[in-house]
Amino acid sequence: MYPEELLYSKDHEWARVEGNQVVIGITHYAQDALGDIVFLELPPVGTKVEANVPFATIESVKSVSDVYSSVTGEIVEVNDAVADAPEIINQDPYGEGWMVKIAMENSEELKDMISAEEYQKSIAE
């Protein structure tokens, strides 16, 4: 449910580090709490993002949630498949449900993220 090799944020995003870039998505807990995801708007490639600032909103039938970037940088890739078929996020939040890939400006920011174990603890509370 919470792959160990990923990093997590308190706002229920996960990050997969790939060299100088991170891939971001939302966790199993988040997709479950949202319910059926019906709409998602992702910013275009080239958009500058900041750590702890929302860069997208994700909509289910009953609610709207902000998606936060955990790092400062620039979006280098966007998963268009998920914008067209948001339900993929419910089905496969860590795989096909990835949202954006960001080129990091300062990888030190990753230190503020938490491990799978710590994340699981935080949601159990």
Partner: protein
């Protein structure tokens, strides 16, 4: 549903259950010094007969378009309302229902709202509609809200020829968001195309035009909106829905959002309201549409049903990111419009629009040949027009009221340079005799002068 409040027996039972002796005891927590100790200063109750007599006395102080010949316009008009409209909307399930959107109970209302959305899209050529806003003025403001939400630009361009009170309401709505409202000037009674400058367009989220405009004149919408082509500035048109039976649908002119006031569709004038505002737009703006939207779906038995939908747009879920904080609409007025449009149909609406146009042009042509009357502008118009009359407002009102005629409206109070310019509205209700009466009255009045 019952409309009988609790009986004395039920009250006693409830008090007994709660363990209190009287209704007064329920307010025991309120400090003594804050309690009202005297009886309320209200008159004695009246019997039904006395009450009717009293209300009749008050209402007889008013007049109405049933007793006068009206040429009043400027946003609120005397159009024919078929009897079937009142018959249907008077059903208590429609007339007294409050927020009737629970699908298990309100399929009738929800379906009629869905039909209304469809009709408005057919009339305007737009893809989607909501189930109404308060009125035309706030619909303009909501469209401007959408434009800001979509483009992020903090300026709105609106023509000086849009209803002055709509522009006032727009400014009120834009003020807390620090959005500047720039009024583009007019020339000869229509928007001056040369004043719609490129730099202004770049800075503005939208350009709002009215069709016909406040003076009844037809704006060169295609020419002016084509100026927006290479920008992300939205084209917004505020339209007369009956005129749409004759004019090109705004969708054909690349308009992004179409709004307006729906009073003329089956709703009485009622001294200014209530009315409803309609808002339709292109599909790509669907998620920015404010207000309620009804969708068609199937229930658990696979039967067609109707529900409120896309509620994540609305402020009770989207909060500060929503286009608007509106969470209400005018469904009874909308139902009246829906019944009206169903009843007159496409052919009927065309005939009504045509009659309005012909009547107005008959009256205009006959008036401008009178000594002391000249055309106000050199523009094409639908069913409202402006003429100059060599009489001041009070004199004119006196002369016409003696003949049981209401109107026209003097434009000076909104446009100080338009002295002695009068706005006439002519609908399908005006007969040749009525029009000949005002022609004759004005002719004689100006001759004596």
């Amino acid at each position: 549903m019952d409309y009988i409040p609790h009986s004395n027996k039920e009250i006693r039972e409830m008090l007994s259950f709660l363990g209190v002796k009287s209704l007064k005891d329920l307010y025991s927590k309120i400090p003594y010094e804050m309690k009202q100790k005297r009886e309320l200063n209200l008159p004695e109750p009246l019997s039904e007969l006395e009450l009717l007599r009293r209300l009749k006395f008050i209402s007889n102080k008013n007049t109405s378009v049933n007793r006068k010949i009206s040429f009043l316009g400027a946003g609120n008009y005397d159009h024919f309302i078929p009897s079937v409209v009142n018959y249907i909307i008077s059903h208590p399930e429609f007339y007294t229902a409050y927020t009737p959107y629970q699908p298990e109970l309100s399929q009738g209302i929800l379906q009629s709202m869905f039909e209304y959305q469809t009709m408005m899209c057919e009339l305007t050529g737009m893809d989607v509609s909501n189930i109404s806003l308060y009125d035309g003025a706030t619909a303009v403001a909501e469209a401007a809200n959408m434009a800001f939400s979509i483009t992020g630009k903090k300026k709105v361009m609106v023509s000086e020829t849009l209803h002055p009170e709509y522009r006032q309401v727009l400014k009120t709505y834009m003020k807390p968001r620090n959005i500047e409202v720039y009024e583009t000037p007019m020339k000869d009674g229509v928007t001056d195309k040369t004043q719609v400058k490129k730099s202004l367009i770049e800075e503005s989220s939208c350009l709002i035009l009215s069709q016909p405009n406040f003076f009844g004149n037809l704006e060169p919408m295609d020419e002016i909106f084509s100026l927006l082509a290479n920008s992300n500035t939205l084209a917004i048109a505020c339209v007369n829905p009956i005129s749409l039976a004759l004019l090109k649908p705004p969708a054909d002119l690349g308009v992004d959002i179409v709004i307006g006031d729906g009073q003329i569709l089956g709703n009485p004038q009622s001294f200014g309201g209530p009315s409803f505002g309609f808002l339709t737009c292109k599909k790509k703006y669907l998620r920015k549409l404010p207000g309620r939207i009804v969708g068609q779906t199937v229930d658990s038995d696979g039967k067609t049903g109707y529900v409120l939908t896309l509620q994540t747009r609305e402020q009770h879920i989207r909060r500060e990111k929503a286009s608007s904080n509106i969470c209400s609409n005018q469904s009874l007025n909308v139902l009246a419009a829906c019944v009206y449009l169903s009843y007159v149909g496409r052919d009927g609406l065309f005939k009504i629009a045509e009659l309005c146009y012909r009547n107005a042009h008959y009256l205009f042509q006959k008036l401008i040949v009178i000594d002391g009357i000249q055309p106000g502008f050199n523009s094409k118009f639908f069913n409202e027009f402006v003429i100059h009359i060599d009489l001041n407002l009070n004199k004119l009102k006196n002369i016409l009221s003696k003949k049981g005629i209401l109107g026209p409206i003097c434009l000076e109070k909104w446009y100080p340079t338009l002295k002695k310019k009068y706005l006439f509205a002519v609908t399908e209700k005006r007969t040749k005799d009525e029009m000949d009466l005002i022609i004759d009255t004005l002719f004689k009045a100006l001759k004596i002068k």
